[in-house]
């Protein structure tokens, strides 16, 4: 079975003289949540931009469901759901219209849209905002709009960039339960974060990134074995790994 996402030996960045990320390799299978962990500036967002096809790798290859961006640029971006760190939206569309247009442009049936949209609105407690414009929203509400748009399409792969910042506690819980549900239904999720307690609780595997390179990756048990810290939390292991330099 091919992995949902394969990143193989990717080196890249914004200018050719300086690589921000070097020799990055990992993969995401069905039914798993993988955390991408790193300090500010470690290269998390750069990796995500490469996966989205917004940056071109200088070396290596990225495949989603076996396809590269350069191989099929029109359809590549429709094969995953992306929740950006800073929300992007149309000023001219209301919350409801965003959801409807997302469903429409991804080719969802109108009936399917109607079925999926109500529970989303309800669980993220955005029913009252349905006819308002995102410009009047708080950061957290805009974040919820992004999340709802991605969740409604139900892709097999989710790329989630710092989802927790700006969300209220109930929103965080709803998001994580939804992602777990998606995982149980067979989706793979890559989530970048630096909230380690949450990552430890919800993620199956961890990719620890430091200064553009992967320091270690694996399940919590594997990380414990590598570092020789059998009873420690992800927090301790992470600090041990990055402070060693």
């Amino acid at each position: 079975m091919a992995a949902l996402l394969e990143v193989e030996g990717v080196t890249g960045g914004y200018v050719s003289s300086r690589a921000v990320i070097e020799d990055i390799s990992f993969h995401i299978q069905e039914r798993e949540i993988v955390a991408l962990i790193g300090l500010n500036g470690a290269g998390k967002s750069t990796i995500i931009k490469h996966i989205l096809g917004l940056l071109e790798p200088r070396e290596g290859e990225i495949r989603i469901a076996g396809k590269t961006f350069s191989g099929s640029p029109e359809t590549y971006r429709h094969t995953f759901g992306y929740i950006p760190e800073s929300p992007i939206y149309y000023d001219e569309l209301t919350l409801w219209e965003h959801l409807e247009l997302a469903a429409m442009s991804y080719g969802l049936d109108k009936k399917v849209f109607a079925e999926r949209v109500q529970p989303l609105l309800k669980e993220f407690r955005m029913e009252e905002a349905r006819d308002r414009f995102p410009r009047q929203f708080s950061k957290g509400m805009r974040q919820k709009l992004m999340i709802m748009m991605a969740l409604m399409v139900q892709p097999s792969l989710y790329i989630v960039d710092e989802p927790i910042l700006g969300l209220d506690p109930l929103g965080i819980r709803t998001l994580l339960t939804w992602l777990e549900r998606c995982k149980e239904q067979g989706a793979g999720i890559l989530m970048s974060t630096h909230i380690l307690a949450t990552a430890e609780k919800y993620c199956d595997r961890f990719i620890i990134l430091h200064k553009g390179r992967i320091k270690a990756q694996g399940t919590l048990d594997e990380l414990r074995r590598i570092t020789g810290m059998p009873n420690h939390s992800l927090d301790d292991i992470y600090l041990h790994l990055v402070e060693g330099e």
């Binding site: 149309y90 001219e92 569309l93 409807e100 247009l101 429409m104 442009s105 991804y106 414009f133």
Partner: protein, 376 residues
């Protein structure tokens, strides 16, 4: 120490530079010719328009009403910037001096507009009332005094945190202004003893003003909102002649129009069209411009003589609209938004083409209906 005088001079300089810059483009544009043409048309029809006024029509009251509208409307430009909320609010006490200068600026600029309105209404006033001597001096003097008073008092009511209350005070201001003008223009004929009530109202109003200026601080967010709105309007006008880079599009919800977009059936292929149409209908400037063109040209077509002239005019407007609308498809979309939905460039382009056609067909249909109505 902050020098607010210097700050005001700097801000005013920056704004006048923009006015000069865009003023040049406006003067060069063909729209100036249209304005001259319309003025000529108006001058031609004015006398017959004045003649057509029936005897029973209360000219002084109507005149006062129109003048009072312009006198009462006192938008406050303050030249504030977003960052001022952070940097100037600590110097709030010193800002009084700054705001006094902006008030003088507003008075001067608005007086110019008022002067033009008075000039425009002068022939009407002269022809119907036949004023002379002191009465004429009053006509040219009192509105400006009232303008000054309106600028002063509306500035104080801007301190009210409640917008509804502000609207109420604006209404009272209008009442005070309107009554004095009507009383003056009718040479004391209109409710002669009302003047005493008017004085009482004025005194009461000033007591309230005192209380407001003591009880409330500047509403910085509101001031900024008003400033941004006025600045935007200036840019929107300038944008008709030249692309203004700093123009931030304001989105309007336009509930009365948006139902048309719901007529497009739910289908994957229609996503681009729906996006285009909704963006267009809610855009502040584009849709506004289009609707104005359709309405104004329809009205002009009613006035124009003969079916052939009407048809030629309609064709001309259709041509102009087609040129104007050509720009909207190529409007620069925010780069990052293009990755939000899987609507590719090709789909967006064909949607814009479709949208332009629909708008032109709608315009042509309206014009045909107008001609049919005028002929029958």
């Amino acid at each position: 120490m902050m020098n607010v005088d210097l700050l005001f001079r700097e801000r005013l300089r920056r704004f006048s530079k923009e006015v000069v810059l865009y003023g040049q483009y406006m003067a060069n544009g063909g729209v100036l010719m249209v304005a001259v043409f319309l003025t000529g048309l108006l001058a031609y029809y004015y006398p017959s328009l004045v003649q057509a006024i029936p005897v029973w029509f209360p000219v002084p009251v109507a005149l006062s009403f129109v003048i009072a509208l312009f006198v009462t409307k006192s938008p406050h430009r303050t030249f504030l910037l977003e960052a001022d909320l952070l940097f100037l609010t600590p110097a709030e006490a010193k800002m009084d001096r700054y705001f006094r200068k902006t008030q003088i600026y507003n008075f001067v600029v608005q007086s110019i507009g008022l002067f033009l309105v008075l000039l425009l209404l002068m022939p009407l006033y002269k022809a119907t009332m036949g004023p002379a001597g002191a009465q004429l001096w009053l006509y040219w003097g009192v509105p400006f005094i009232l303008k000054g008073w309106n600028v002063y008092s509306s500035w104080i009511t801007m301190r009210l945190p409640d917008k509804n209350q502000y609207a109420l005070y604006t209404l009272v201001r209008f009442g005070i202004t309107f009554y004095l003008l009507a009383w003056m223009l009718s040479e004391g004929q209109l409710l002669p003893y009302g003047v005493f009530i008017w004085m009482g109202l004025l005194i009461w109003f000033h007591i309230r003003l005192q209380r407001i200026s003591k009880g409330h601080a500047y509403q910085w967010y509101r001031l900024l909102e008003v400033e941004n709105g006025l600045r935007l309007r200036f840019y929107q006008i300038a944008n008709q002649f030249r692309d203004v880079p700093s123009l931030q599009q304001r989105v309007k919800s336009r509930k009365w129009l948006i139902w048309t977009a719901r007529l497009i059936p739910y289908r994957k292929a229609n996503a681009g069209r729906i996006l285009f149409l909704k963006s267009f209908l809610r855009s502040g400037d584009l849709a506004g411009m289009y609707i104005r063109i359709v309405v104004i040209s329809s009205l002009l077509m009613l006035i124009l003589p003969g079916v052939l002239v009407k048809a030629a005019f309609a064709l001309l407007i259709l041509f102009l609209s087609a040129i104007q609308l050509k720009g909207i498809g190529s409007q620069v979309r925010h780069q990052s938004r293009s990755s939000l939905l899987p609507i590719d460039e090709q789909q967006q382009k064909s949607a814009a083409l479709w949208g332009r056609r629909v708008l032109l067909v709608v315009q042509a249909t309206v014009h045909i209906l107008v001609v049919l109505f005028a002929v029958s």
